[in-house]
Amino acid sequence: MNSASVISTDEAPLLAVRGVTKIFPGVRALDGVDFTLRRGEIHALMGENGAGKSTLIKVLTGADRRDGGEILFDGCSIDPRSPAEAQRLGISTVYQEVNLIPFLSVAENIYLGRQPMKFGRIDWKQINLRAAAALKRLDVEMEVTQPLNSYSPAVQQMVAIARALDIRAKVLVLDEPTSSLDANEVGHLFAVLRRLKAEGLGIIFVSHFLDQVYAVSDRFTVLRNGKLIGEHEAAKLPRLELVAKMIGKDLKAVEEMSARRGAEPVRTAHHPFLRVIGLGRRGSMTPFDLTIRAGEVVGLAGLLGSGRTETARLLFGIDRAEAGRMEIDGKLVTLTSPRGAIGRRFGFCPEDRKTQAVIPDLSVRENIVLALQASKGWLRKISTQQQQELAENYIKALGIATSDAEQPIKLLSGGNQQKAILARWLASHPRFLILDEPTRGIDIGAKAEIEKLIARLCSEGMAILFISSELEEVVRDSHRVVVLRDRKKVCELTGDQIDLPSIMQAIAARADE
């Protein structure tokens, strides 16, 4: 190393991101973000959806290229163009979904692409020996010649880390490494991370589990909407403050906030429309109870990854529940498919509008009538004239901005697409509507309209499950709020209890509290 040009005191950061900007069409995914990683520390990158965590990681690991700013690695400016280049520099990444080849052997997965050769052929003996040694460094002993997919996700995660480390990594990026691990496995992983930290590695850790983040990290960097909110030492930042920063609230203001929601009290008089008891599924949601009455909005609050979408998928029959039962109007039902749920007059606006809701090439009209038509069956076609009337009505009622109903929906803005998907469900007259982040990524005006619509629908007697990461919306619009943390229902707030501080307390509480 050229020691003259590098100030090599121990204080010099291993990785310094200075004012990095990344622009995607229509969004500043990163806006002048600073980030500093020291040698021998575990640094958690925190933020809600759209905060810019994954974009920052992509820029660091060469998957995306930055549009501005500077990245200093060991004091030298770098600009990795591909994951391969970043790896060569010493920045290795382990992704949430294990990005290895499931059918190939454990050893091969560690050395794929940089196999040791002997006499013009791959030296398998070396590979197996070295792989076993690399895993031993992580306290894992296993048969390295077995295919990767014969092992549990936790072990696969370790193999991924072994691969990342074997490329002589100085920086290890772990993107949600714990989402499919149980408590023991997380404990083992953390023990390994602490040892690697002691060896001088810099580790960037992304996780939605606050307990874990506090358990293992030295410092936090909080991002929100592509901007840096702040850098803090873990020991000096109370949980509640961290949550406040992540969701973009000033803690003092929140604490002083006494304004409760103005909605009428819970309508216990209404009979419960839906009751689930102990509904759950391994790896998705710990069994939970939930009751929703007709004419009631139940808000679902929690951080990203807390189990909000998983709850919606279980209720709508997309994922089959492994435990528990479900009652509608007091009668036991089993849902095995979305069709079954729709048959019970459920509706579901999924969070991922693009891949799960919108049929891009079809017209606004066709997208609106689809669910109603599907419930009627193929033979009872809604006449073109009726379709047009339906579409026109909803376009007017919801204020969908489109030149006409025959426009392909992909040409509409996000907010208008969302309204069209809402219209799809309203047209099918559901008794129970699940709205998963209906206000994400749409402009303020459209947001307000959707909130108004929710209030109107529930006053007409519809039961609504409202999921949003905008806690204020949840507070404003819900009669009851269910708080989720780490795939568990942690509490339920009603009436006067519903306010921002209580929800944040519940989200930020420790698991053992």
Partner: protein, 335 residues
């Protein structure tokens, strides 16, 4: 220019514009430069000539392309249509010659069987989730063997004036297969646009998850598309057998799947599913046949037909490839 031109057309016809221009250009070229191409004679009240021949010769591809369009719209493909054509020929011939059960019964039984064969593909793709290419490959391989088994390895000749009318007869002055295509087109349009099936097919092909979440049953939709393609292939098989007054299990429907896929792609239905255009597929079939006839009439060795088809399909697919466009734009931007 194409933009301006397309605004002059009704919205329904807009996607058809390029295939129609291509067909018109081909016909115009032939009309001007190929001797005898445009000549049409009327004999005994029947119309004869190259143009009529093109209609008649492309009838098989047109029929099967109706079904294939639906399959491709669900983001699938059916490679077994040629084998089903061979089976249909053998079954129909055998029933007529050996069972003596009467023509209408024989044709109905044949069509029914082919519907079942299509449903078999639909089961593999829809219910068992096998990739379409793989699933239909099974019937493509085994189907021809079954056809040969049924025919006992022989070419079964059929002496039946009723049977030969199917391909050789005339209706309203035009060859009878043209009537069959017209009827099947009407049936397909009625089934897909007269009911909600067309909407479901396009929804499943364009975004299967979203369709599923909206309550559409993708399995049933796929089942319909493959079964219907089986039926279409069966009718094409009957025409082919009627045309040569025999069932030739070795050669019937050979390479038909390629022409049909080509017709659908030329017709503007994208291979990755979604919006489909039945009329476009028919125009595509006509383009292919016109091309073949042109090559033949202009004295170009027939063997080049295959080469020309290959080049045509590649050019069309390349023109549709967004990745290539992106790549070329990048080049231009960096240059």
């Amino acid at each position: 220019m194409s933009e301006r031109l397309s605004t002059l057309m009704p919205a329904r016809l807009r996607p058809l514009i390029w295939p129609l221009i291509a067909l018109a250009a081909l016909l115009l070229f032939n009309g001007l430069f190929t001797e005898g191409f445009a000549r049409i004679t009327i004999k005994d009240g029947h119309v004869y000539g190259s143009l009529v021949d093109i209609l008649k010769l492309s009838s098989r591809v047109m029929l099967v392309s109706l079904g294939m369009t639906l399959v491709i719209a669900t983001a699938g493909v059916d490679l077994s249509v040629g084998a089903v054509v061979a089976i249909a020929g053998s079954v129909a011939a055998k029933l007529i010659v050996q069972q003596q059960i009467g023509l209408p019964m024989a044709l109905a039984a044949t069509s029914g069987l082919c519907l079942v064969l299509g449903a078999w593909n639909g089961t593999l793709v829809g219910w068992l989730g096998v990739q379409p290419i793989v699933a239909t490959l099974i019937l493509m391989v085994a189907g021809r063997g079954i056809a040969q088994l049924l025919a006992g390895g022989q070419i079964i000749t059929v002496e039946s004036s009723g049977f030969s009318f199917i391909a050789g007869g005339h209706f309203l002055g035009l060859p009878f297969p043209v009537t069959m295509v017209a009827l099947m087109l009407l049936l397909t349009v009625a089934l897909t646009r007269g009911t909600a099936l067309g909407l479901f097919i396009e929804a499943v092909g364009n975004n299967e998850t979203a369709a599923l979440f909206a309550g559409v049953n993708p399995r049933a939709v796929k089942m319909f598309a493959y079964a219907f393609t089986g039926l279409c292939s069966g009718m094409a098989g009957i025409i082919e057998a009627s045309d040569i007054k025999a069932a030739d299990a070795n050669n019937a429907g050979l390479y038909l799947e390629l022409d049909v896929i080509l017709a659908v792609v030329i017709g503007g239905t994208p291979l990755n599913g979604g919006r489909f255009d039945l009329a476009g597929s028919l125009v595509g079939a006509l383009i292919i046949q016109t091309l073949t006839t042109t090559i033949k009439m202009r004295g170009v060795p027939v063997e080049y037909t295959l080469v020309v088809k290959a080049v045509v399909v590649l050019v069309i697919c390349l023109a549709q490839s967004p990745e290539l466009r992106k790549l070329l734009l990048q080049r231009r931007a960096s240059a």
